[in-house]
Every structure is written in structure tokens, then in C-alpha cells.
């Protein structure tokens, strides 16, 4: 393959002054080494990963206690434990921000305007205010009996209150898990139910698309179905009034954040140093079958990985303002939160990217001084299709764009350069499973059109060849600290093993296809498994098919992602259904299926296309083959066609007119 053109080159002086360059110098001086290229430095970080993480811990000056030895207990990815004798505080490190003064801005909180002609609502929260608020909330939660081992769940907007409560809860040693308001109650309960949470955090109201939504009213159903809850905490504007309205009908103690904090003292807190592998976040990864699996991420692993990504790969630090378009149900919310630990400020937004118009987010970026803006290809597409030219909107302070959530096609690099500016477009990719990235940016390297700049430091990312001739599969060959502690309620680790290690023993199998170049760059080529990534949202097909199968007309269903240039983000969901005998797929039934999925999961889960086929493609072993269906929908002859029991179905799928790649979105 020809070398693609370079679309951005780092300024040599800035590259030399980057945190990555300074860290490399630190390693060289500490160990008497000399790396003449990035490739050499990266290779060393993989081969000597224990030394790398020890060095990084030292360089990043995270406040800690205990011993940094052993760095990693165990040699297999599946069993290794990093820093088992070390203690630190995620919350303390995030609040400290590398010693940022109290007067420094920590959060720039934005809310969608009340009317289309009104101004964006912006509030700045300083480090000092955030430190005091988090300390007071922690004090109050502690008084309510919340502590280590408890789980605090949230159905919340992306705002400063949610961040403060999350930091307070995790600072006490509780584990935090959050969903965004876009998720329907059924899907929220599928996630929170197994967690047996002690406390529930709800944003009373949020705005989106010009409409104010009463989230607390809907949260009552969730609270009633979680019998272990002792407390529901309501945040945001009008929380007091909402609590007054609902307290009598609430199944347990309902309190507004301001009321909860009223009885506390305005103190700062010396955050307890907790074990490195203290459970910190519970994230969800939906698979092809069953309920979403709850992934347990540890405090130290999350913190070190995020610090590494932000500081070394993103060069994020004091003076930066980071905004990532996310809800608090996606790992990019956690990733953004950790950005505070670098000394940067983070920008939050509760609202729609499209309100009052398509320039909303870019104007927000200009108004709040965002320096690093992240979104998904669906958002770039929306901006382009709306003929919005960000460079005309005063976004001159932007120094980098980050893109994740879907494959980033080559032409977006040209668009970004033309319409945003001469700044790097960093294609970053990883996932919920590792709460981080396998490929990402690099302040010392050029950006090649269509490619991620590099592979993440200390991660032995490999492209495993497919003997059948398909694309290479992304695997990782060395232990890494942000490997999950495990899956919730998976006491013998068998589900964890099956999810990540069964396909290729000894290697972390991530589920993405990847191309690695000789230049050290990478391209993510989509999912190797059945997980859907549409419009920047990761969706487990089981959440869609489970709802579809409940309709009496539907005997079986399979949800597959299809590349489709005209759809937001360049792909869409096709739902293949097998109907009961005598049932025809008319528009009314298509609408019933779509409505059920929207009401049971979210609007993001709704398939763009519903098509009927006589049976689903299955392997000779009787397993459903989403991969074969996906390749057929792409117009290809499936790589594993010989292993398909009913290959004639693949021909039918390939010929479906409604699923044609030329068919309108």
C-alpha cells in the first residue's frame, strides 16, 4: 500500500517541549539509555513494561504510599496484578491536578440555552470550589453510611454536579457506575440491577433538543426496582423542588444535593490512599447474548492509563480545556474526568449538539476556550452536512481534535484541515473493556491521512493474521494496568476468560480489526465481533435482538452493523428478522419493532433497516454468525462461508434491496 500523505506535522519546538519528549528524557537519564526514534522508545516500553510503568509512576508524581514493588505480579495478561502493594487516591489525584492552585478553573459547565435565541448557560467551577464541594459531599455520603465496597449508580447529565458526586463516592472507596439520560429505564435496570447499589444519583432535570426533561419522574421506576438502595440523591437545578414534590412517594430516602451538603462543614479533605486495585468504575459492555456485562475497573490502572494517554499521547496539561462529546454512560466521560488530573480544565455540556443549530458545539468550544475537542465521525458528518465551517466560528484556540467511536475515513482528515484548521486530527480507539486506547495521538509524530499516529505506549498491540484471509485482528501481548479487575459476579473468572482470552490463549483479544503499518501507525478497520458501533455509540446487539424477539411476530433476530456512507458516522444497524409462519413484514410491523427498541433501549439502538429473511446464518456448529451476515451486507463473499450451514441465506442477505448500500439512509 502506498504511503498516505502527511496532513499535519508537529512544530519541532513544541514536539521537543512536549510531555512525551520530557518523559523520554527522564527515562533515558534514569537508566542511561538513548532512544533515537519513537519506534525504539515504544519497543522498549513494551519489552520492559514493568520498568515503563515504574518510571511513569515516578515521573507523574502521583501521591502514593506503600511499595511500588512489585510493579506487576504475574506474567500473564489474564492474571497479572499491577502494584499490589501500592496505595493511591484517584479522587485526590484528579482534584490535585498536579498541584493546580485553588483559583484555577477546573470545570466549565455548559447547559443548553433555555430558548433558541438565548445564550448558552456557562458556569466556571474553580479547583478550590470543586475540592470543597467534593469534600463536603463525601462527608455527607459518609454520614449516610456510604463507603468502601458500596456501589453508587447514577442516571445523570454530563455536568459539574455529577462529576463532584462521582469523585466524592470514589474518594470514599465506593464504586461508581453511570448511565446517560438517553437510555430507557429497561436498559438502565439491566445495568444497575446486578450491581445491588447502595445509592442512586439522579439529575433532576436536563435539557436536550430545546426540551426540558424531568428525569426524576422517570427515575422513580428505576429506584423502585433496586431494593438495595438506601438513598437517592438529586442534583442539578430545581433539585430541591423536585425532592419536595416526590419525597412522599419515593421508596427510600430522597434528598437534594444542596440539602445533603447543608449539614456539612466547608473543609478540604486529605483523601485516604486506597489500594491500587480498589474497584473504581463499573462499565458495561453488551455482547451478542445475555444482559450487558459489568466490567470492573480499578482505581490505579484507570488513573495511570489515563494519565499516560492524556499527558504523553495528548500532551494535555495546565492551560488546556478538554471537551469530549459524550454522556456519562460512555467511557469517554471517565476519560474526560481523568483529564483533570493533568491540570487541564474540562468542559461539560448538558444539551444537544444540534440546538439551537448545527454550530452549537463549535460555538460552545469557541466561547469556553476548548483546546482539545473530541467527538465521533457522526458529529463531523453532521457538521459537514450542515455546511458549518468551524474555523469561521472563532475556534482559534483549538490545538487538536480527537475522533473515536467509529472508523474514521480518510476524507475526514481533509475536511478537518480545511474546515477546522491546521491542527492534528487524532484517531483514537480502544474501548470500555480497557477504559482506554490501543491506538491514539502523539505530539512528536506527523499525522498521516486516514491513520492513528501510533500505538499506545507499553501496550504490545499486534495485528494477528487471519488464516482464512480476513483482516488482521487486534490483540495485545503484554499485561497492562487498565486491564479490568474482572467481570462482576464472575467468581471463577470463566466469563472474563471467555470474553477476552479464549479466542487466542495468552493474548488479550479486543474484538477489533486492525492494520499496523511499518511506520508504526495504525488503522482500525471495524469490529471483529458482533458488537455494533454506530453514531459513536457502542451497542450490544443482544439489547436489540432481545427486545425484537419479544414481539409475537418475531421468531428470531440478528442485529448487524453495515458500512453505509450516507448514514451518520458512516454506518447503520440492520436488523434481520425471522418471522413466525404466515407473518409478513409490512411497514406497521417495522414500526412496531422500531418503537419497541426505542422504548426499551434508546433511540441510538433503533435499526435503520429491518429486513425479513427465512433463517439466520448459522455455523456448522449451530452458532449464529453475525460476521457472515455483516460480510454479506457489505456485498462480500464471507470469509467463513464454507463453515456456514445455510450459505444460501447469505446470498439472500446480499440481495436485500432495503439493505443495499445504495439504499437511502
Amino acid at each position: 500500500m502506498n504511503t498516505p500523505s502527511i496532513v499535519w506535522q508537529p512544530d519541532p519546538a513544541r514536539a521537543a517541549a512536549s510531555q512525551l519528549a520530557r518523559f523520554q528524557q527522564f527515562v533515558e537519564a534514569r537508566h542511561g539509555l538513548r532512544f533515537s526514534t519513537w519506534a525504539e522508545f515504544h519497543r522498549d516500553s513494551v519489552v520492559s513494561f514493568r520498568r515503563f510503568w515504574s518510571d511513569f509512576l515516578e515521573w507523574s508524581a502521583v501521591r502514593r504510599a506503600g511499595s511500588a514493588e512489585p510493579v506487576c505480579d504475574g506474567d500473564t495478561i489474564e492474571r497479572a496484578r499491577f502494584f499490589p502493594a501500592l496505595r493511591l487516591s484517584y479522587t485526590g489525584t484528579v482534584l490535585d491536578g498536579g498541584g493546580q492552585p485553588d483559583a484555577a478553573v477546573a470545570i466549565v459547565e455548559c447547559h443548553e440555552a433555555e430558548t433558541p435565541t438565548a445564550a448558552l448557560q456557562v458556569r466556571e467551577v474553580t479547583r478550590g470550589e470543586l475540592r470543597r464541594d467534593v469534600a463536603r459531599i463525601a462527608q455527607a455520603l459518609e454520614a449516610q453510611g456510604i463507603g468502601p465496597g458500596d456501589r453508587v449508580v447514577a442516571l445523570a447529565a454530563h455536568d459539574a454536579d455529577t462529576i463532584a458526586v462521582a469523585l466524592a463516592a470514589t474518594g470514599l472507596g465506593a464504586t461508581w457506575s453511570s448511565c446517560g439520560p438517553e437510555l430507557a429505564n429497561e436498559a438502565v435496570l439491566a445495568r444497575f440491577g446486578p450491581l445491588e447499589p447502595a445509592a442512586f444519583v439522579v439529575t433532576g432535570q436536563y435539557r436536550s433538543g430545546g426540551v426540558r426533561h424531568d428525569l426524576l419522574a422517570r427515575a422513580r421506576e428505576v429506584a423502585a426496582a433496586l431494593p438495595t438502595l438506601r438513598l437517592t440523591l438529586v442534583t442539578g437545578a430545581a433539585a430541591d423542588a423536585a425532592v419536595t414534590r416526590d419525597a412522599a412517594q419515593w421508596p427510600h430516602h430522597l434528598v437534594a444535593l444542596a440539602q445533603l451538603m447543608a449539614g456539612t462543614e466547608a473543609v478540604t479533605r486529605d483523601w485516604t490512599l486506597l489500594p491500587f486495585n480498589q474497584p473504581l468504575f463499573l462499565l458495561f459492555s453488551s455482547g451478542t447474548t445475555g444482559a450487558p456485562k459489568a466490567i470492573v475497573h480499578g482505581a490505579g490502572g484507570t488513573l495511570l492509563e489515563h494519565l499516560k494517554e492524556h499527558r504523553l499521547h495528548g500532551d494535555l496539561g495546565p492551560g488546556d480545556r478538554l471537551y469530549y462529546q459524550t454522556t456519562c454512560g460512555w467511557m469517554m466521560w471517565h476519560w474526560t474526568l481523568s483529564g483533570l488530573a493533568t491540570g487541564a480544565a474540562i468542559v461539560t455540556y448538558d444539551g444537544s449538539v444540534a440546538t439551537p443549530d448545527a454550530s452549537a458545539l463549535w460555538r460552545l468550544a469557541a466561547r469556553t476556550g476548548v483546546t482539545v475537542l473530541g467527538a465521533s465521525p457522526a458529529f463531523w458528518q453532521y457538521t459537514r452536512d450542515s455546511a458549518v465551517s468551524p474555523r469561521t466560528l472563532g475556534t482559534t484556540q483549538l490545538r487538536a481534535l480527537a475522533s473515536t467511536g467509529s472508523m474514521l475515513d480518510d476524507h475526514w482528515y481533509d475536511w478537518a484541515r480545511r474546515e477546522v484548521g491546521e491542527i492534528p486530527l487524532m484517531s483514537i480507539s480502544g474501548g470500555t473493556d480497557i477504559i482506554g486506547c490501543f491506538v491514539l495521538g502523539n505530539p512528536t509524530l506527523p499525522v498521516y491521512r486516514g491513520e492513528s499516529q501510533c500505538v499506545s505506549l507499553a501496550l504490545d498491540v499486534r495485528a494477528l493474521a487471519d488464516p482464512a484471509g480476513g483482516p488482521d485482528e487486534l490483540v495485545c501481548g503484554t499485561p497492562f494496568p487498565s486491564r479490568p479487575l474482572g467481570l462482576l459476579h464472575d467468581h471463577d473468572g470463566s466469563r472474563f476468560h471467555e470474553a477476552y482470552f479464549a479466542a487466542h490463549p495468552g493474548l488479550w483479544t479486543h474484538g477489533d480489526f486492525i492494520e499496523l503499518t511499518a511506520r508504526g501507525t495504525a488503522r482500525i478497520l471495524g469490529r471483529a465481533d458482533a458488537v455494533l458501533k454506530v453514531k459513536g455509540v457502542r451497542i450490544g446487539p443482544a439489547e436489540i435482538t432481545g427486545i425484537a424477539r419479544r414481539l409475537p411476530e418475531v421468531r428470531d433476530a440478528m442485529a448487524v452493523e453495515q458500512r453505509h456512507a450516507d448514514s451518520p458516522g458512516g454506518s447503520r444497524i440492520v436488523l434481520l428478522v425471522v418471522l413466525q409462519d404466515g407473518v409478513a413484514l409490512d411497514r406497521a410491523l417495522v414500526h412496531r419493532i422500531k418503537r419497541a427498541i426505542r422504548d426499551g433501549a434508546s433511540a441510538d439502538h433503533v435499526p435503520a433497516v429491518v429486513a425479513a429473511i427465512p433463517e439466520l446464518p448459522t455455523t456448522l456448529n449451530g452458532k449464529l454468525s453475525e460476521r457472515a451476515a455483516r460480510e454479506a451486507l457489505a456485498g462480500q463473499v464471507p470469509v467463513n462461508r464454507a463453515a456456514i450451514r445455510n450459505p444460501e441465506v447469505l446470498d439472500l442477505i446480499r440481495a436485500l434491496p432495503e439493505a443495499s448500500r445504495d439504499h437511502p439512509a
Partner: protein, 91 residues
Amino acid sequence: MPNSDAELRRLIIDWLDDQYHFGDAEQLIRDDEQSFLETGVLTSLGFVQLVLFLEQRLAITLDRAALTRENFDGMGRVLRHLRAHLGPASA
């Protein structure tokens, strides 16, 4: 090719149903002057999708600078804007 106001209205209703409302669009649009945005029929994000759909379906090009509430926030407004592009309805 849809051309009359009734055909264009049906085209838009069907699209709204297929994309967002799954059979409820007709009921949601009580009159032609009702704001799509303020009554939850369509978001600004949806406006862009609607424009792309209409361009593809009607083989026309709509000026993105004209993607305003005045031209798209309501059935009557969309129909009037389309009529300006398509010319008088054929008999």
C-alpha cells in the same frame, strides 16, 4: 417523483415515521404551522437528515445556508421551501 403538496407531505410523514416516530408522525403534526422543533417532531440534527433525504429523493440540491427554522421548522414551511425549488405542482 412526488410533486404535489399532498405527495410531498406523505413523503415527509413516511420519512418521519421510518426515522423517528414509527407510525405516530401523522398524529404528532396537528397543523402545518406547528413548529417541528418545539413540539419534538424533529431536532436540528433531524433537519439535516431531512434535507439530505429530500435532496436524494427529489433529485434537487438545497442550499445549506437556507437550512433555517424559517424554511424547515414545520410542515408548511418545508412544503413552501420545496415548492420554491420544484416550481408549481404538475397537474
